[in-house]
């Protein structure tokens, strides 16, 4: 009679791995298919955005902010703009704020489409990804008309937005929403409640509300734990109080509250809410200027501030120290992915190796946001 011996082995997942969507490395200690622990090793994409900010000045830093989160560039723009405006006490004109909200919410839909689409790919289904990308391309067409870029969108400026909406754009955007809402329903009925999805995602990587706050999870990852917290509603900024929308939270319909399935569903439902905000914003947009008067030689007075905005990946905090010159003394970006990576080591214990892939996908981490 022979005894069955198992031996612990160390596996390297990444830095380049098809399911990590960026350069990330995991050092996995595994016993067969079961992980003892997965230790994230980040920093392969580090390009010292914070140091660049100290060298290029306030206006000059705006295009660099896109690279902090290339899938959600509008939000990084907005965060930097709001931080600079708060330091200098500049008020953005109403139409400018509306343009910002419209651009940002389109960006949120595009970002969530990438997230739910690639999740399908990580589970082994290619088609959902192509569907999501097709929809995202149409949003990219709209955003391209706004700012000329299809990935690193750069539409916002300190004091508002660069240009007004082009003629006829509003109608095109509304027509797109008419097309998008039924597509989202279709996407849901085809993919979201698929048996394989539920089996792979439900009860995997459960985060309790206390853990989520302790590890500082933000955005959809926090809401999936059942905490109804959205900066757009709770610490409202810009013109968000003027819109009527819901904050979807995880409810554990298919498993436990706070599992991967909840995180996935929260994103699906958020796209629907964003579409609601967009309709209202496009219909109510007031006339007027879009850019406040901001001196070219922008020198905010001495001081410091932190601005928090609800990006596609959650609470993005810009901490800026000004020393009174045209160059910020220190800029620090607090991002959602950084905290989400911090919790993986804890969540990974006892999961299967295949679950690690869905766990990363459900936390929706973006490599440059971790490294900056």
């Amino acid at each position: 009679m022979s005894t069955f011996h198992t031996e612990e082995m160390t596996l390297n997942m990444g830095p380049q791995h098809p399911s990590t969507h960026g350069v990330l490395r995991f050092v996995v200690r595994a016993d067969g298919e079961v992980m003892r622990e997965a230790v994230p090793d980040v920093g392969y994409l580090h390009r010292s955005i914070e140091k660049i900010a100290e060298k290029v000045g306030y206006h000059g830093f705006m295009p660099y902010t896109d690279r902090v989160d290339y899938v959600c560039a509008m939000f990084t723009n907005q965060g930097w703009g709001m931080a600079s405006e708060r330091l200098a006490g500049i008020e953005v004109p109403k139409r400018g704020e509306y343009c910002r909200v419209i651009a940002a919410e389109f960006n949120r839909i595009a970002s969530h489409l990438i997230s739910v689409g690639t999740m399908g790919m990580d589970i082994g289904a290619m088609t959902p990804f192509t569907h999501a990308i097709r929809e995202r391309e149409m949003i990219n067409d709209l955003i391209e008309e706004l700012c000329g870029a299809r990935l690193t969108f750069n539409y916002m400026r300190i004091g508002g937005v660069a240009w007004d909406l082009p003629p006829g754009w509003r109608e095109k955007a509304l027509a797109y929403l008419e097309h998008f809402d039924p597509i989202l329903e279709e996407y849901n009925s085809l993919i979201s409640f698929n048996k394989i999805y539920i089996e792979r995602l439900a009860n995997v990587g459960v985060v309790t509300p206390q853990e989520a706050i302790d590890y500082n999870l933000v955005g959809p990852n926090l809401r999936a734990c059942g905490i109804k917290w959205d900066l757009r509603k709770d610490l409202s900024y810009s013109v968000y109080p003027e819109f009527d929308f819901d904050v979807p939270v995880g409810s554990g319909e298919w498993g436990t509250v706070g599992d991967s399935m909840d995180r996935y569903m929260v994103r699906i439902r958020e796209m629907h809410e964003s579409s609601k905000i967009l309709r209202q914003a496009l219909n109510q947009i007031p006339a007027g200027p879009v850019l406040a008067k901001v001196p070219r030689n922008f020198k905010p007075p001495k001081g410091e501030c932190q601005v928090r905005i609800e990006s596609g990946r959650g609470d993005m905090g810009w901490y800026v120290v000004s020393d009174g010159t045209g160059y910020p003394w220190r800029v620090h970006v607090r991002t959602g992915s950084f905290a989400a990576m911090g919790i993986i080591q804890k969540l990974s214990r006892g999961l299967m190796i295949a679950d690690l892939v869905t766990l990363i996908a459900s936390l929706d981490v973006i490599a440059p946001e971790i490294d900056r």
Binding site: V42, G43, H46, S48, E50, K51, R86, L87, G89, E211, I213, D214, Y215, N216, I227, W229, D234, L235, P301, K302, G303, E304, C305, Q306, R308, D315, G317, Y319, V321, W329, R330, H332, R334, F338, A339, M341, G342, I343, D371
Partner: protein
């Protein structure tokens, strides 16, 4: 609670271990004796009037004559926040970790250690996070000079802008 009211409350409790309450615009902050930071953090977390359940941000700033570690606390229950700072000497900056109070401090402190060289006493896993392990110096220090090469790989390169017309200088 307004930030200044929170700082007054900390001041009442900790007396002269609160070194400075600054009304800096737009965000006021409060400077704490580095030796007391863990105690103050636990007090802010457990006091039902402040109930700071989250360490939302921790970053370091090099001011040339000192290094500051800046903590942004936030309370989800009461929807208010506070900014606390500790000032450390530039040569050997050491402060106790807040990892035991909030788990999120773990990674953020590793980042400050990596980029500014602040060492956190009692941290469970203090090693570089973004830069390679053998990288010389701490990049976010104001006097940091980038080495010309790293393991034989040059860190300088020619301007990527291609000159289309060779006759034009």
């Amino acid at each position: 609670m307004e930030p200044l009211a929170i700082y007054q409350r900390v001041k009442e409790r900790f007396g002269d271990r609160v070194l400075e309450i600054s009304e800096s615009k737009p965000d006021p902050f409060c400077v704490i004796d580095p030796a007391a930071i863990v105690e103050v953090a636990i007090a802010l977390r457990d006091d039902p009037e402040t109930a700071m359940d989250c360490l939302s941000n921790e970053s370091g700033v090099d001011y040339k004559d000192r290094i500051e570690v800046v903590y942004h606390f936030f309370s989800y229950q009461l929807r208010h926040g506070a900014v606390l700072k500790v000032q450390l000497p530039r040569e050997d900056p050491v402060v106790h970790t807040l990892e035991g109070v909030w788990k999120s401090a773990n990674w953020m402190e590793r980042e400050i250690f990596d980029l500014l060289g602040v060492s956190f006493e009692g941290h469970s896993d203090l090693r570089r996070i973004l830069m390679p392990e053998d990288w010389p110096g701490h990049p976010l220090r104001k006097d940091f000079v980038e080495p010309l090469e790293y393991h034989g790989i040059s860190t300088v390169r020619e301007s990527p802008i291609i000159r289309l017309d060779p006759k034009r200088k």
